[in-house]
Protein backbone atom coordinates (compact mmCIF):
# COMPACT_ATOMS: atom_id res chain seq x y z
CA UNK A 1 0.00 0.00 0.00
CA UNK A 2 2.82 2.31 0.95
CA UNK A 3 4.75 1.66 -2.30
CA UNK A 4 1.58 2.13 -4.32
CA UNK A 5 1.21 5.54 -2.73
CA UNK A 6 4.73 6.46 -3.70
CA UNK A 7 4.13 5.29 -7.23
CA UNK A 8 0.99 7.43 -7.45
CA UNK A 9 2.93 10.37 -6.13
CA UNK A 10 5.66 9.89 -8.71
CA UNK A 11 3.13 9.67 -11.51
CA UNK A 12 1.54 12.91 -10.42
CA UNK A 13 4.95 14.58 -10.15
CA UNK A 14 5.75 13.49 -13.69
CA UNK A 15 2.41 14.74 -14.97
CA UNK A 16 2.99 18.10 -13.28
CA UNK A 17 6.47 18.53 -14.72
CA UNK A 18 5.22 17.65 -18.19
CA UNK A 19 2.51 20.27 -17.80
CA UNK A 20 4.98 22.85 -16.59
CA UNK A 21 7.42 22.27 -19.43
CA UNK A 22 4.51 22.44 -21.86
CA UNK A 23 3.75 25.94 -20.60
CA UNK A 24 7.26 27.31 -20.56
CA UNK A 25 8.57 25.97 -23.89
CA UNK A 26 12.13 26.96 -23.12
CA UNK A 27 14.11 26.93 -26.34
CA UNK A 28 17.62 28.08 -27.06
CA UNK A 29 17.64 31.59 -28.56
CA UNK A 30 17.95 31.66 -32.36
CA UNK A 31 20.96 34.00 -32.18
CA UNK A 32 23.97 34.84 -30.06
CA UNK A 33 23.34 38.49 -29.09
CA UNK A 34 26.21 39.34 -26.76
CA UNK A 35 25.96 43.06 -26.04
CA UNK A 36 24.83 43.99 -29.56
CA UNK A 37 21.77 45.84 -28.28
CA UNK A 38 23.70 48.07 -25.90
CA UNK A 39 26.23 48.81 -28.69
CA UNK A 40 23.32 49.99 -30.83
CA UNK A 41 21.90 52.10 -28.01
CA UNK A 42 25.32 53.67 -27.35
CA UNK A 43 25.57 54.54 -31.04
CA UNK A 44 22.17 56.26 -30.91
CA UNK A 45 23.16 58.21 -27.81
CA UNK A 46 26.55 59.06 -29.30
CA UNK A 47 28.32 58.35 -26.03
CA UNK A 48 30.78 55.86 -27.53
CA UNK A 49 32.94 56.10 -30.65
CA UNK A 50 32.88 53.62 -33.56
CA UNK A 51 36.16 51.97 -32.48
CA UNK A 52 34.64 50.76 -29.19
CA UNK A 53 31.63 49.39 -31.04
CA UNK A 54 33.84 47.61 -33.56
CA UNK A 55 35.85 45.89 -30.82
CA UNK A 56 32.66 44.85 -28.99
CA UNK A 57 30.90 43.47 -32.09
CA UNK A 58 33.97 41.64 -33.44
CA UNK A 59 34.09 39.94 -30.03
CA UNK A 60 30.39 38.96 -30.24
CA UNK A 61 30.94 37.55 -33.74
CA UNK A 62 33.99 35.61 -32.53
CA UNK A 63 32.02 34.14 -29.59
CA UNK A 64 29.20 33.14 -31.95
CA UNK A 65 31.62 31.47 -34.35
CA UNK A 66 33.37 29.59 -31.52
CA UNK A 67 30.05 28.21 -30.30
CA UNK A 68 28.60 27.43 -33.71
CA UNK A 69 25.82 30.03 -33.25
CA UNK A 70 24.44 32.61 -35.65
CA UNK A 71 24.82 36.36 -35.17
CA UNK A 72 21.52 38.27 -35.06
CA UNK A 73 20.01 40.29 -37.92
CA UNK A 74 21.68 43.68 -38.25
CA UNK A 75 24.88 42.92 -36.33
CA UNK A 76 27.12 42.63 -39.38
CA UNK A 77 25.42 45.61 -41.05
CA UNK A 78 25.94 47.77 -37.96
CA UNK A 79 29.56 46.61 -37.76
CA UNK A 80 30.01 47.52 -41.42
CA UNK A 81 28.60 50.99 -40.80
CA UNK A 82 31.02 51.50 -37.88
CA UNK A 83 33.94 50.52 -40.14
CA UNK A 84 32.61 52.98 -42.70
CA UNK A 85 32.69 55.73 -40.07
CA UNK A 86 36.39 55.04 -39.46
CA UNK A 87 37.13 55.23 -43.19
CA UNK A 88 37.51 51.48 -43.77
CA UNK A 89 35.28 51.26 -46.84
CA UNK A 90 36.62 47.80 -47.69
CA UNK A 91 35.36 46.43 -44.36
CA UNK A 92 32.11 48.39 -44.75
CA UNK A 93 31.47 46.50 -47.97
CA UNK A 94 32.70 43.16 -46.65
CA UNK A 95 30.38 43.26 -43.62
CA UNK A 96 27.36 44.41 -45.60
CA UNK A 97 27.93 41.52 -48.01
CA UNK A 98 28.18 39.16 -45.01
CA UNK A 99 24.83 40.46 -43.70
CA UNK A 100 23.31 39.96 -47.14
CA UNK A 101 24.62 36.41 -47.31
CA UNK A 102 23.31 35.53 -43.84
CA UNK A 103 19.97 37.26 -44.47
CA UNK A 104 18.94 37.48 -48.15
CA UNK A 105 15.84 39.40 -46.97
CA UNK A 106 18.13 42.43 -46.67
CA UNK A 107 19.32 42.35 -50.33
CA UNK A 108 17.32 45.26 -51.76
CA UNK A 109 18.33 47.66 -48.98
CA UNK A 110 21.98 46.60 -48.74
CA UNK A 111 22.43 46.75 -52.52
CA UNK A 112 21.06 50.30 -52.32
CA UNK A 113 23.66 51.17 -49.63
CA UNK A 114 26.52 49.41 -51.45
CA UNK A 115 25.72 51.20 -54.69
CA UNK A 116 25.64 54.53 -52.89
CA UNK A 117 29.00 53.74 -51.31
CA UNK A 118 30.54 52.92 -54.70
CA UNK A 119 29.26 56.18 -56.15
CA UNK A 120 30.89 58.08 -53.29
CA UNK A 121 34.12 56.15 -53.89
CA UNK A 122 34.12 57.14 -57.59
CA UNK A 123 33.39 60.75 -56.70
CA UNK A 124 36.42 60.94 -54.44
Amino acid sequence: MESKNIRHGLLLACACSVLFSGCAQQRQPLYHWGNFQSVQYSHFKGDKGPEEGIIALEKVREEARANGRNVPPGLQAHLGMLYGLTGRTDLFEQNLLAEKQSFPESSVYLDFLLKKNQKQEVAR
Binding site: M1, F20, C23, L30, Q37, H78
Partner: protein, 227 residues
Protein backbone atom coordinates in the same frame (compact mmCIF):
# COMPACT_ATOMS: atom_id res chain seq x y z
CA UNK B 1 -11.85 3.92 5.05
CA UNK B 2 -8.23 4.27 4.07
CA UNK B 3 -9.17 4.23 0.38
CA UNK B 4 -11.67 7.02 0.80
CA UNK B 5 -9.04 9.04 2.59
CA UNK B 6 -6.54 8.47 -0.22
CA UNK B 7 -8.92 9.51 -2.93
CA UNK B 8 -9.80 12.62 -0.96
CA UNK B 9 -6.12 13.40 -0.50
CA UNK B 10 -5.64 13.28 -4.23
CA UNK B 11 -8.48 15.64 -5.00
CA UNK B 12 -6.49 18.82 -4.28
CA UNK B 13 -3.77 17.55 -6.59
CA UNK B 14 -6.30 17.13 -9.34
CA UNK B 15 -7.47 20.66 -8.72
CA UNK B 16 -3.89 21.88 -8.94
CA UNK B 17 -3.39 20.10 -12.26
CA UNK B 18 -6.59 21.55 -13.64
CA UNK B 19 -5.52 24.97 -12.48
CA UNK B 20 -2.18 24.54 -14.24
CA UNK B 21 -3.91 23.53 -17.44
CA UNK B 22 -6.19 26.50 -17.09
CA UNK B 23 -3.12 28.71 -16.66
CA UNK B 24 -1.79 27.55 -20.00
CA UNK B 25 -4.93 28.03 -21.97
CA UNK B 26 -6.28 31.26 -20.49
CA UNK B 27 -9.09 32.27 -22.76
CA UNK B 28 -8.61 35.59 -24.51
CA UNK B 29 -10.87 37.28 -26.96
CA UNK B 30 -9.56 35.66 -30.11
CA UNK B 31 -7.51 38.03 -32.25
CA UNK B 32 -8.32 37.94 -35.95
CA UNK B 33 -5.09 36.82 -37.62
CA UNK B 34 -6.60 36.19 -41.06
CA UNK B 35 -4.74 39.03 -42.81
CA UNK B 36 -1.49 38.28 -40.93
CA UNK B 37 -1.58 34.57 -41.83
CA UNK B 38 -2.29 35.31 -45.48
CA UNK B 39 0.46 37.95 -45.79
CA UNK B 40 3.24 35.76 -44.31
CA UNK B 41 5.76 38.59 -43.85
CA UNK B 42 9.39 37.45 -43.51
CA UNK B 43 11.11 40.78 -42.92
CA UNK B 44 10.20 43.74 -40.74
CA UNK B 45 11.33 47.33 -41.05
CA UNK B 46 11.10 48.94 -37.61
CA UNK B 47 10.54 52.67 -38.04
CA UNK B 48 11.86 55.07 -35.39
CA UNK B 49 9.13 55.17 -32.70
CA UNK B 50 7.04 58.31 -32.25
CA UNK B 51 7.56 59.58 -28.72
CA UNK B 52 4.55 60.97 -26.87
CA UNK B 53 6.37 61.09 -23.53
CA UNK B 54 8.42 64.03 -22.20
CA UNK B 55 11.64 61.99 -22.16
CA UNK B 56 13.65 62.51 -25.36
CA UNK B 57 15.50 59.22 -24.83
CA UNK B 58 12.32 57.19 -25.48
CA UNK B 59 12.61 56.92 -29.29
CA UNK B 60 16.13 55.52 -29.40
CA UNK B 61 15.66 53.44 -26.27
CA UNK B 62 12.65 51.61 -27.74
CA UNK B 63 14.30 51.35 -31.15
CA UNK B 64 17.41 49.71 -29.65
CA UNK B 65 15.18 47.16 -27.90
CA UNK B 66 12.92 46.34 -30.86
CA UNK B 67 15.22 44.04 -32.84
CA UNK B 68 15.72 41.19 -30.36
CA UNK B 69 12.11 40.09 -29.69
CA UNK B 70 11.19 40.29 -33.40
CA UNK B 71 14.33 38.47 -34.56
CA UNK B 72 13.88 35.76 -31.92
CA UNK B 73 10.27 35.42 -33.12
CA UNK B 74 11.63 34.45 -36.54
CA UNK B 75 11.75 37.65 -38.61
CA UNK B 76 14.56 39.41 -40.39
CA UNK B 77 14.76 42.84 -38.79
CA UNK B 78 16.41 45.61 -40.78
CA UNK B 79 19.44 47.15 -39.02
CA UNK B 80 17.76 49.92 -37.02
CA UNK B 81 20.85 52.15 -36.87
CA UNK B 82 21.45 52.12 -40.62
CA UNK B 83 17.75 52.61 -41.32
CA UNK B 84 17.77 55.66 -39.01
CA UNK B 85 20.78 57.06 -40.92
CA UNK B 86 19.09 56.48 -44.28
CA UNK B 87 16.07 58.50 -43.18
CA UNK B 88 18.34 61.29 -41.92
CA UNK B 89 20.23 61.38 -45.23
CA UNK B 90 16.87 61.91 -46.89
CA UNK B 91 15.98 64.80 -44.63
CA UNK B 92 13.62 62.83 -42.39
CA UNK B 93 14.60 63.26 -38.75
CA UNK B 94 11.22 63.37 -36.98
CA UNK B 95 9.66 59.92 -36.39
CA UNK B 96 6.19 61.39 -37.01
CA UNK B 97 7.29 62.42 -40.53
CA UNK B 98 8.85 59.01 -41.15
CA UNK B 99 5.55 57.36 -40.17
CA UNK B 100 3.90 59.38 -42.95
CA UNK B 101 6.09 57.95 -45.74
CA UNK B 102 4.01 55.90 -48.19
CA UNK B 103 4.31 52.10 -47.73
CA UNK B 104 5.15 51.67 -51.42
CA UNK B 105 8.11 54.06 -51.06
CA UNK B 106 9.42 52.14 -48.03
CA UNK B 107 9.04 48.90 -49.94
CA UNK B 108 11.00 50.34 -52.88
CA UNK B 109 14.02 51.44 -50.79
CA UNK B 110 14.19 48.70 -48.16
CA UNK B 111 12.49 45.76 -49.85
CA UNK B 112 10.81 44.92 -46.53
CA UNK B 113 7.62 42.84 -46.40
CA UNK B 114 6.20 44.77 -43.45
CA UNK B 115 6.85 47.90 -41.40
CA UNK B 116 6.39 48.31 -37.68
CA UNK B 117 5.03 51.62 -36.39
CA UNK B 118 5.64 52.12 -32.67
CA UNK B 119 4.20 54.88 -30.47
CA UNK B 120 5.70 55.35 -27.02
CA UNK B 121 2.87 56.54 -24.76
CA UNK B 122 4.72 56.69 -21.43
CA UNK B 123 8.43 56.62 -20.69
CA UNK B 124 10.09 57.55 -17.46
CA UNK B 125 9.99 57.90 -13.74
CA UNK B 126 7.24 59.70 -11.91
CA UNK B 127 7.41 60.63 -8.25
CA UNK B 128 4.11 59.93 -6.54
CA UNK B 129 4.48 60.52 -2.77
CA UNK B 130 3.86 56.88 -1.88
CA UNK B 131 5.70 55.13 -4.66
CA UNK B 132 7.85 56.45 -7.46
CA UNK B 133 7.75 54.18 -10.44
CA UNK B 134 9.33 53.89 -13.84
CA UNK B 135 6.81 52.94 -16.48
CA UNK B 136 7.11 52.40 -20.20
CA UNK B 137 3.97 51.95 -22.31
CA UNK B 138 3.94 51.50 -26.06
CA UNK B 139 1.65 50.62 -28.94
CA UNK B 140 2.60 49.04 -32.24
CA UNK B 141 1.10 48.43 -35.67
CA UNK B 142 2.43 46.01 -38.28
CA UNK B 143 1.62 47.10 -41.83
CA UNK B 144 2.11 45.05 -44.99
CA UNK B 145 4.25 47.21 -47.31
CA UNK B 146 3.11 45.30 -50.38
CA UNK B 147 -0.56 46.13 -49.86
CA UNK B 148 -0.65 48.84 -47.18
CA UNK B 149 -2.94 46.63 -45.07
CA UNK B 150 -2.62 46.51 -41.30
CA UNK B 151 -1.68 42.97 -40.24
CA UNK B 152 -1.56 43.35 -36.48
CA UNK B 153 -1.69 45.87 -33.66
CA UNK B 154 -0.97 45.61 -29.97
CA UNK B 155 -0.01 47.45 -26.79
CA UNK B 156 2.08 46.66 -23.73
CA UNK B 157 3.32 48.23 -20.55
CA UNK B 158 5.95 47.44 -17.91
CA UNK B 159 6.68 49.05 -14.58
CA UNK B 160 9.43 49.03 -12.00
CA UNK B 161 6.73 48.73 -9.34
CA UNK B 162 5.56 45.30 -10.50
CA UNK B 163 5.67 42.83 -7.64
CA UNK B 164 6.70 45.56 -5.22
CA UNK B 165 5.68 44.82 -1.64
CA UNK B 166 4.95 47.87 0.43
CA UNK B 167 6.61 47.02 3.71
CA UNK B 168 8.32 49.22 6.25
CA UNK B 169 5.45 51.53 7.13
CA UNK B 170 4.64 54.92 5.62
CA UNK B 171 7.99 56.54 6.47
CA UNK B 172 9.84 53.59 5.00
CA UNK B 173 7.83 53.87 1.79
CA UNK B 174 8.48 57.61 1.46
CA UNK B 175 12.22 57.17 1.86
CA UNK B 176 12.19 54.27 -0.55
CA UNK B 177 10.30 56.36 -3.11
CA UNK B 178 12.78 59.23 -3.01
CA UNK B 179 15.82 56.98 -3.04
CA UNK B 180 14.46 54.90 -5.85
CA UNK B 181 13.74 57.88 -8.06
CA UNK B 182 17.34 59.05 -7.74
CA UNK B 183 18.70 55.59 -8.47
CA UNK B 184 16.34 55.04 -11.37
CA UNK B 185 17.23 58.26 -13.13
CA UNK B 186 20.96 57.69 -12.77
CA UNK B 187 20.94 54.07 -13.84
CA UNK B 188 18.64 54.69 -16.81
CA UNK B 189 15.94 52.53 -15.32
CA UNK B 190 13.71 53.70 -18.18
CA UNK B 191 15.85 51.85 -20.68
CA UNK B 192 15.72 48.69 -18.56
CA UNK B 193 11.91 48.85 -18.29
CA UNK B 194 11.64 49.67 -22.02
CA UNK B 195 13.30 46.32 -22.67
CA UNK B 196 10.53 44.56 -20.76
CA UNK B 197 7.84 46.54 -22.56
CA UNK B 198 9.39 45.75 -25.92
CA UNK B 199 9.65 42.04 -25.24
CA UNK B 200 6.00 41.92 -24.09
CA UNK B 201 4.87 43.93 -27.10
CA UNK B 202 6.91 42.26 -29.84
CA UNK B 203 7.48 38.61 -28.85
CA UNK B 204 5.51 35.96 -30.68
CA UNK B 205 3.55 33.60 -28.47
CA UNK B 206 2.18 36.37 -26.23
CA UNK B 207 -1.64 36.57 -25.92
CA UNK B 208 -2.86 38.51 -28.97
CA UNK B 209 0.79 39.06 -29.92
CA UNK B 210 2.51 38.82 -33.28
CA UNK B 211 2.79 35.43 -34.97
CA UNK B 212 6.07 33.57 -35.41
CA UNK B 213 8.08 34.35 -38.54
CA UNK B 214 9.69 32.01 -41.12
CA UNK B 215 13.03 31.77 -39.31
CA UNK B 216 11.41 30.32 -36.18
CA UNK B 217 10.81 26.57 -35.69
CA UNK B 218 7.35 27.67 -34.43
CA UNK B 219 6.47 29.24 -37.80
CA UNK B 220 2.85 28.56 -38.79
CA UNK B 221 2.33 26.59 -35.59
CA UNK B 222 0.85 29.53 -33.64
CA UNK B 223 -2.38 28.63 -31.89
CA UNK B 224 -2.32 25.04 -33.11
CA UNK B 225 -2.71 23.62 -29.60
CA UNK B 226 -5.97 25.49 -29.23
CA UNK B 227 -7.56 24.13 -32.34
Amino acid sequence: MKNTFLSLARTPLLVVILALLGGCATSHKAYDYTAFREARPASILVLPPVNESPDIKATHSMLAHATAPLAESGYYVFPVTLVDETFKHNGLTAPADIHEVAPAKLREIFGADAALYINVKQYGTSYKVIASETRVTAEARLVDLRTGNQLWHGAATASSAEGDNNSGGLAGMLIKAVVRQIIETIAEQGHVIAGQTSSRLLSAGMPNGILHGPRSPQYQKDGQALR
